[in-house]
């Protein structure tokens, strides 16, 4: 009996909580989609971003100087190298695809095994079947 009562009480509390959250969700949604909220976001984020940009520029330039003095590649050098590697990867991918195509077309052009046997082209002792990977 007491467990049923507490269950009922729990359900009531949950119901109240859910309806409260629903109301809160509506209010919050109205606020977060308002111009006021977006303006506050922009007002807070812009100076933060500007400061971060200035700080980043300063550290990057200091780091570049240090790396140059140590005769080490800079961040830009490493990024450029990585981009170049991707371009090489693309070129290799194209070459690989071209070779695949050549292999397939040469396999298609090769006479079928029976045809080769008829023309005396079959090699004795070896299976004429072409296996594709």
């Amino acid at each position: 009996m007491s467990s049923e009562t507490s269950k009922g009480l729990l359900e009531r509390v949950r119901g109240m909580r859910d309806s409260m959250m629903e109301d809160l969700a509506k209010v919050t949604l109205a606020w977060t989609s308002s111009d006021g909220f977006q303006t506050i976001n922009a007002v807070i984020s812009k100076p933060t971003l500007l400061t971060a940009a200035i700080f980043r520029k300063a550290t990057e330039s200091a780091m570049a100087d240090v790396l140059a003095k140590l005769n080490l590649p800079s961040r830009e050098d490493v990024l450029a190298l990585s981009q170049r590697l991707t371009r090489i990867e693309m070129a290799l991918d194209d070459v690989g695809a071209g070779m695949d195509q050549l292999r397939r077309s040469s396999q298609q052009q090769r006479p079928a095994p029976r045809e080769r046997e008829n023309h005396g082209g079959g090699r004795p002792g070896k299976s004429p079947t072409v296996k594709e990977g």
Binding site: T28, L29, S33, D100, Q101, R104
Partner: protein
């Protein structure tokens, strides 16, 4: 009352221990997601093309392979969330030859990657590999969210590359009804300085994207999810499902800087795709060139990509075989929610199976 205590206590103890175990699980571990066996058959930079191991014999399989393309700023594991609730698993069981183009996580060196790079450098190469691997000259394409947008760009710019049919899920394509799109307000020029953000970060950080998306429904996202977990803490099945989704949600990835800039400036602000003025790597995107069979799936309750962002698409494309499918559900719940296997997946299968032979 000694008798009632004796009957209640063991049950209560077992319930409490289940709750404690579940709480420890969700707070200290990551759920195993994306478990369906697959094989990487192609890579380029961070992108990988996977082929899922078929579960249906070759003679019973649909001959036209299907390529899945997910968004750029979340991991593609949502398509294969967990056994029993995996779209990939469902497709394999229905006899599709399933491939997935996973974009990977962009690093600082990828900040220059734009939408055109993804749609015209990565996708065509991955598709070339898919065709040579599967031996089929035709293929079907399914894109979700920004993945759907990339698929639209690809299909409009490369309409003669063997694309048989295209399925778009919650595609953000049309920005005409600016006031109905919550994210559009957030990204207005007066509130967001895209160039400054990218100057600081290079790529758009995952945390900022996540914040933006969560602020569209702050109470539901920051509180609601946890109260739902708390209410069901003694139900391991519900907790496992919540845990899998939470693992995926918390594992967002940054968006390549140039792609983000284009997305905000050209699409959210300029609405250039629908206006026909979008230029991608020097080519103008003309939606009339999209001629493949088209299924446009819309989530009626999608607050991230509301229905108005793609419901007029059918009037803009050149396809003759085209259909719109409106389903109950939100941006993610539509395809990965607990009811997806009863509603969305069978409907997509019914449409796709007719176009896969």
């Amino acid at each position: 009352m000694p008798t009632s205590d004796a009957s209640v206590t063991p049950g209560l103890l077992s319930r409490l221990s289940t709750m404690a175990a579940n709480l420890v699980k969700v707070t200290t571990t990551k759920a195993p997601i994306g478990q369906t066996p697959r094989q990487a058959i192609w890579t380029l930079n961070k992108a990988t093309l996977f082929r899922y191991t078929p579960v249906v014999p070759a003679e019973k399989r649909h001959p036209v392979p299907l390529l899945l393309v997910f968004a750029l700023m979340n991991k593609s594991a949502i398509l294969d969330l967990r056994p029993g609730n995996s779209f990939v698993e469902f497709l394999l069981q229905k006899g599709y030859d399933v491939y997935l183009l996973d974009w990977g996580t962009p690093g600082p060196e990828d900040a220059q990657l734009g939408l055109g790079d993804y749609a015209l450098e990565y996708m065509p190469r991955a598709i070339r590999k898919l065709k040579s691997f599967s031996g089929s000259d035709q293929f079907n394409l399914l894109g979700w969210c920004i993945g759907a947008m990339l698929c639209t760009l690809y299909s409009s710019l490369r309409p003669s590359e063997g694309l048989k049919s295209l399925i778009l899920l919650t595609a953000p394509l049309d920005f005409t009804e600016h006031d109905k799109i919550s994210l559009a307000k957030m990204t207005e020029e007066r509130y967001l300085d895209v160039d400054l953000v990218l100057q600081v970060y290079g790529n758009m950080p995952a945390g900022l994207i996540d914040y933006g998306a969560k602020m569209l429904k702050p109470v539901e996202n920051f509180v609601g999810g946890y109260t739902r977990l708390f209410d069901n803490l003694d139900n391991t099945k519900v907790v496992d499902s919540w845990h899998a989704m939470n693992t995926w949600v918390s594992d967002a990835i940054p968006l390549a800087g140039a792609a983000y800039r284009q997305f905000i400036v050209d699409l959210y602000r300029g609405n250039k795709l629908v206006k026909g003025t979008l230029i991608v790597r020097g080519e103008r995107v003309d939606l009339k060139q999209l001629r493949a069979s088209l299924l446009n799936v819309i989530g009626e309750d999608d607050h991230i990509t509301p229905p108005c962002q793609s419901e007029n698409l059918l009037d803009l494309v050149g396809s003759t075989d085209k259909e719109i499918l409106r389903l109950p559900g939100g941006h993610i719940g539509l395809m990965a929610g607990s009811g997806a296997y009863k509603v969305a997946w069978p409907k997509i299968d019914a449409w796709l199976s007719q176009r896969s032979s």
